[in-house]
């Protein structure tokens, strides 16, 4: 996806048909025929190693941002969190698991046992690297900076956790980080603002998530 329009089109194409309960393959083919960038991105995604869980997964920011130094000079950047936990390949039993929550349940159990850590790796782009198309990877030889460590040592459910009340708006940035011309930043900001307003508005009536405090505590020591 490199625009809100293509995201919308893909959602429509992957909508389950009422007759079969499954997406219409013709609709997806038609979508892909018009979106060669998605075909290319999917080919790249398919080559990756599927890890055994969230703890040994790398998380890549597809959107690009700009870092600005004190002199006002900017560089395009993308970042990734790379797991410190050894990466294990997903087993056949895992991929056959029909429990929808097993990845989340494992993560909760692991964090109860010991903190999980990721390296925050910042990739410095060259002026020629695309910042307005999240489907295009940057060349692999770009400079990488180890910018620190992300440690997760606690887990809480959304009904008591602090993050429910935060809108992770990609246009609300600290001094020194600026948005790029990536159209997804505005699209995400606009959509998140709307959904945050709806979510905040129903807070008094409805729990923020199906995963409540009990789901977290029940996995302690299991």
């Amino acid at each position: 996806m490199n625009s809100a329009q293509s995201f919308y089109d893909q959602l429509l194409a992957s909508k389950p048909s009422p007759a079969t309960g499954k997406p219409d393959p013709k609709a997806m083919q038609a979508f892909l025929a018009h979106h060669p960038e998605t075909v290319r991105a999917m080919a790249i995604i398919k080559t990756r190693v599927v890890s055994s869980g969230f703890a040994d997964s790398a998380f890549n920011s597809l959107d690009a941002f700009r870092f600005v130094n004190a002199a006002g000079k900017t560089v395009p950047v993308r970042w990734a969190t790379v797991p410190m936990q050894p990466v294990a390949v997903e087993t056949a039993a895992q991929s056959a698991d029909t429990d929808k929550n097993y990845l989340f349940d494992e993560l909760i159990t692991q964090i109860h046992q010991h903190p999980l850590q990721w390296r925050l790796m910042v990739t410095i782009g060259q002026p020629s690297d695309p910042t307005d198309d999240a489907t295009l990877p940057w060349p692999s030889d770009r400079q990488q900076i180890d910018a620190g460590m992300v440690t997760i040592d606690r887990v809480s459910s959304e009904d008591v956790g602090a993050c429910t009340d935060i809108n992770y708006d990609p246009l609300v940035l600290p001094s020194g980080i600026e948005p790029t011309n990536d159209p997804l930043l505005s699209a995400r900001s606009a959509a998140y603002s709307r959904s945050f307003t709806l979510r905040a508005g129903e807070k008094e009536r409805k729990a923020p998530s199906a995963v409540g405090t009990e789901a977290i505590l029940s996995r302690r020591g299991s």
Partner: protein, 192 residues
């Protein structure tokens, strides 16, 4: 009566027309912003906040100016209901110009979003973090915006009614920049 007594003071006219441009721009920026997801969204968002604060500052100056330079009296030809409508719509316009930026500022504070004026220049929050309050104020901001649109149109309609149909000098008392001596109201009093 002399021209100066029939016309709004120069500072009043200046403030009126400056704010007319800002408010009209603001109404369209606001509506454009919430119905857009393109890169324009970010640009409009960046303009919306400082412009809102500018309107808040200007309406306070304007209110003080109004006490120092009271508006000219309405013509005797205006029936009582019209005077009442004129007074009511002006109270509403002043109220909205004052309340809208405060609701916006309060809503951002409650979210809490940074209240960015320009680059690193931020305003302090005026309300504590409260998501439910944020959602209510966000909704209020929209409702007041449409009320503002309607009031603006009523104001424009009334101005045209005075200027084109009634020709009673009310329009000229704000619109005329001529340095003419003698009564402006007579000049614009229409066919005899």
């Amino acid at each position: 009566m002399s021209t100066d007594q029939l016309r709004f003071a120069a500072t009043s006219r200046l403030l009126h027309w400056l704010m007319a441009v800002l408010v009209l721009a603001m109404l369209f920026i606001g509506v454009g912003m919430v119905t857009s997801e393109s890169r324009r969204y970010h640009l409009l968002l960046c303009v919306h906040k400082p412009l809102g604060i500018a309107i808040l500052v200007l309406v306070i100056i304007r209110f003080i100016n109004r006490q120092l330079n009271p508006p000219p009296p309405l013509p005797d030809t205006m029936p009582p209901w019209m005077r009442l409508a004129a007074k009511g719509s002006h109270v509403l316009l002043y109220g909205l110009m004052f309340i809208m930026p405060l609701v916006g500022w309060g809503m951002l504070s409650a979210a809490p979003y940074p209240v960015v004026l320009l680059g690193p220049v931020h305003l302090p929050p005026i309300l504590p973090q409260d998501p439910v309050l944020y959602a209510r104020l966000r909704q209020l901001h929209t409702i007041l915006a449409y009320l503002f649109f309607a009031t603006f149109l009523a104001h424009l309609g009334a101005a045209l009614l005075h200027g084109l149909i009634r020709r009673d000098g009310v329009f000229a008392s704000m619109a005329s920049w001529a340095r003419s001596t003698g009564s402006t109201r007579e000049t614009f009093s229409g066919p005899k």
